[in-house]
Symmetry: D2
Subunit: 306 residues, 4 copies
Amino acid sequence: MSKYVLGQNQYGKAENRIVKIVRKGNEGSWHEIRDLNVSVALRGEFRDVHLTGDNGNCLPTDTTKNTVYAFAKEHGVTSPEDFGTRLAQHFTNSQSVIHESQVRLEEYAWDRIPVPTRRDQHSFVRSGQEVRTSQVTFNKHTGQLQIVSGLKDLTVLNSTNAEFHGYIKDKYTTLQEAYDRILATKVTARWAYSAAAAADPDTDWDRLYKKARRLMLEAFAETYSYSLQQTLNAMAERIMDHCPQINEVRLNLPNKHHFLVDLEPFGLKNDNEVYFAADRMYGLIEATVHRDGITPVIATSDWITA
Amino acid sequence: MSKYVLGQNQYGKAENRIVKIVRKGNEGSWHEIRDLNVSVALRGEFRDVHLTGDNGNCLPTDTTKNTVYAFAKEHGVTSPEDFGTRLAQHFTNSQSVIHESQVRLEEYAWDRIPVPTRRDQHSFVRSGQEVRTSQVTFNKHTGQLQIVSGLKDLTVLNSTNAEFHGYIKDKYTTLQEAYDRILATKVTARWAYSAAAAADPDTDWDRLYKKARRLMLEAFAETYSYSLQQTLNAMAERIMDHCPQINEVRLNLPNKHHFLVDLEPFGLKNDNEVYFAADRMYGLIEATVHRDGITPVIATSDWITA
Amino acid sequence: MSKYVLGQNQYGKAENRIVKIVRKGNEGSWHEIRDLNVSVALRGEFRDVHLTGDNGNCLPTDTTKNTVYAFAKEHGVTSPEDFGTRLAQHFTNSQSVIHESQVRLEEYAWDRIPVPTRRDQHSFVRSGQEVRTSQVTFNKHTGQLQIVSGLKDLTVLNSTNAEFHGYIKDKYTTLQEAYDRILATKVTARWAYSAAAAADPDTDWDRLYKKARRLMLEAFAETYSYSLQQTLNAMAERIMDHCPQINEVRLNLPNKHHFLVDLEPFGLKNDNEVYFAADRMYGLIEATVHRDGITPVIATSDWITA
Amino acid sequence: MSKYVLGQNQYGKAENRIVKIVRKGNEGSWHEIRDLNVSVALRGEFRDVHLTGDNGNCLPTDTTKNTVYAFAKEHGVTSPEDFGTRLAQHFTNSQSVIHESQVRLEEYAWDRIPVPTRRDQHSFVRSGQEVRTSQVTFNKHTGQLQIVSGLKDLTVLNSTNAEFHGYIKDKYTTLQEAYDRILATKVTARWAYSAAAAADPDTDWDRLYKKARRLMLEAFAETYSYSLQQTLNAMAERIMDHCPQINEVRLNLPNKHHFLVDLEPFGLKNDNEVYFAADRMYGLIEATVHRDGITPVIATSDWITA
């Protein structure tokens, strides 16, 4: 007998890049586009695959890739959440040895290119910087369908209405207190949907994404900030205030420092006008906010479990 | 005497990241933002710096950095082109040993975050994927001020109205002719302004940038394409058709291949619906188009001169 | 009372880039270099910071940065693990409101440049592609010191001795069974040290890093592979076979596909000679292997907790 | 007639990733690997392709890709320079409409994994950070074969023996003179071979690459530096001193600033021990050095021609 134990393990094809075109309207001349990056992870009885060279329980990653493309044709792509759910349920249910499947999706946004001269539409330009994300997990033993959605790379900046002072001073403190500073961050957000929302076929995932994104932006803009932590909390609460389908929000907010440049050596006064935008190092603020009575499910960024 | 010759050389501080906030309106509560990445290159009499360890002719890169920040305060940032011109002229004129200066600028775009509850404005979200670029060169011996502007990372896609056939077939040909394909590319564009436009203090650089960007998008969308080369040419000509200030356009267009996935093994017909978006390899199409009678000035992407 | 709960949260300065030079030998002319990227995360009583704008419990991220640099001078950098331990213990113990600190470190390797003409040494060239990693966590309530070390970006390839067959076939299977294939991956490895090793001041972290790296390479090279999972398991077990200080190994192995190019259209036979090295999509194989009786601590890559 | 002129243009398949395995020795059990990224650019009579939609002169980029893979089988890959030459000559000569071809190659280095237990060899680990580069251009009208080789991403550091002072001071100067500083850079080097070396079938390209790399490292290490420009010049001259086949060297050297951290606020003296390694901004030093009497051919990094 081995003195070693095979612990948590999973596998699948990652980063399947898929573009789906849908033709609508007059002779199919109105095109719509969904542009996804789909990663699959399967969990189950894979001990022999690891230990004996017997692949009898292994559904090849190549097959998971084929399934992603075939499902886009068979079932369409109405949203990352719907597409992910269909795939996760399929993989979990298709083989007895697969107990749980997880599908992670990124979606890239496109705007239409306005063309005055025609009414058909098939021209697009990539829009925005942020990437929409979703992770769908289905376990057949618990019957649980878990949907965590979010975004990454949404960069925002307030040029005033931010302070930072009253903090601990110790032997290594040199920071000056700030009463008017730039507050900028690149938002990574994840929010967990309730089991009821995940199970409801009428949940409008695209609408909820746009709504959560808008609420975060508004909370960021409207919060007079005494710390990035406070802004983080306001953004998370704002989402849950208006989205009853969402139980939990986790935000990872790098503090993108903008340092006021010292222009006094040149006889100039820098009245919060000219800043150096630094790359590194940066503050990194991370927190989960959730409804009372809920057990949080979104993983923290730890390398080791709490 | 050395058997070696010091050829073309230049130096300066690269990638000075600068954010400029301007306060306007009622008590300065209406903020505007310019977000730039500024690189400086100086050319001149730097033989001793290279050969003898004598730095008497060397204006330190640190000083060029300081100048960038100080000028943002002293002169403001009305556009990358104006800011670059002021800097290039300053460096060239400030030291007798500097004969020519080149300033390269990237600008990152921000949208306002709409906030229903207030009228002041200081909240922004990074917008678009593309980066606006400009390169300003001033030589005091020729008196020439050369402005080449453009953009990079503008990704566009037509989901139909593109064909590719009638090409050369040789021993290594396997490509099937295409009569309806996706055409997608990530545009890098540079356009050279006439000397008259560069010298005219009334040239509206922001308006010209938006106009050239819009014209390229429209030409991309409206051109029924038989090759990416043809689309490239249409985009370049469209800019010059409507912008008399622009004499020359160079485009670098990677052909972002979207391959129709073969779904027949699964009993499915893929009627131009499901595509695999490939990363590499990719076609790369590059060309300069210029007005007749003009000597092109925009460098090609060669490592070696033609 | 709020209907929301502040869950797991942490903050600190990330990516403090620090280079430490040590002078030894004859008049300090023998230099040694340590090149680190250090990120700090503090956990504790930060509710008010998030909710009320009161920063009284907040040790600024700027101070955590200063501490990193000061400690490099005060205590030296003998290894990432030692340096991280000292920092984690300091932060946790320095303020009553901080309960736990986590320090993540990357180390970049440098080789000496051999110079025949001299005996002093101060010239270096960056070596290898891989980055050494470590994560040190200290909690003052449990007294637990947890050290998880590893590496990332170690790319390896076997040009034979790999097969893949005998797997599940379903409706979406098109993959051909392989009896001689390239097996290549870019290793991300983490291994958890026992509490005894973490507490032992004589643990030689640099030696253990080199040993674990060498063992993984040897296991990769020597394992005749029927799946990347099997190779993964062999690599993990090999480390624990020879390193009693290590209780648990987690590996993330992207399957960097090398596809045999079909040269038959050109009348050529490709006898496992010419491959296309693909970027995406790729298989992704992840697993933890640990000693029997041990509770694994290394976090999986889940977004949601199991 | 058009008022526009089609200027410099080129196209081809970029970034063909190819891995070539060669089996040698006892039953082919000794494997060798070449790992390349190959980009093709064709120049010639492509006016109609751009203007009329007639692709009769267009050799598809897909065909250039096929040719790269087929040639690896037909002719082998003995070096990037040899492989590039064969491809450039083929493309230029294969079609009357193609006047000139340029092939750019990157090569990624692999070391063998030492395995005590066996004598066959098929296991490799990616080594070094630098990428070997080559660009081969063949024009059938001039008959000129031009080979420019080099490397990129070779990071080096001297922890002493570097000063910087005696420079110009102006109104914007704040830099303190330095009498002992870290000098670090990430080398991009290109060197042009003589026509004789390019035409000589006995030129040992692999040996020359290793020699030029070693000479640059030695010159960097041995030069007591008063400026990065001076170090640049020494590196370029050192190559030409010992490689008669090389006529011209161009180096692009970012000055990777390492700033001494001010530890005085913490009562500590920083005696050139603890540095902050900055990302941006950075000095950028670029120059060509060539033999007297030679016309330099390596393109400068200008966007616009001199």
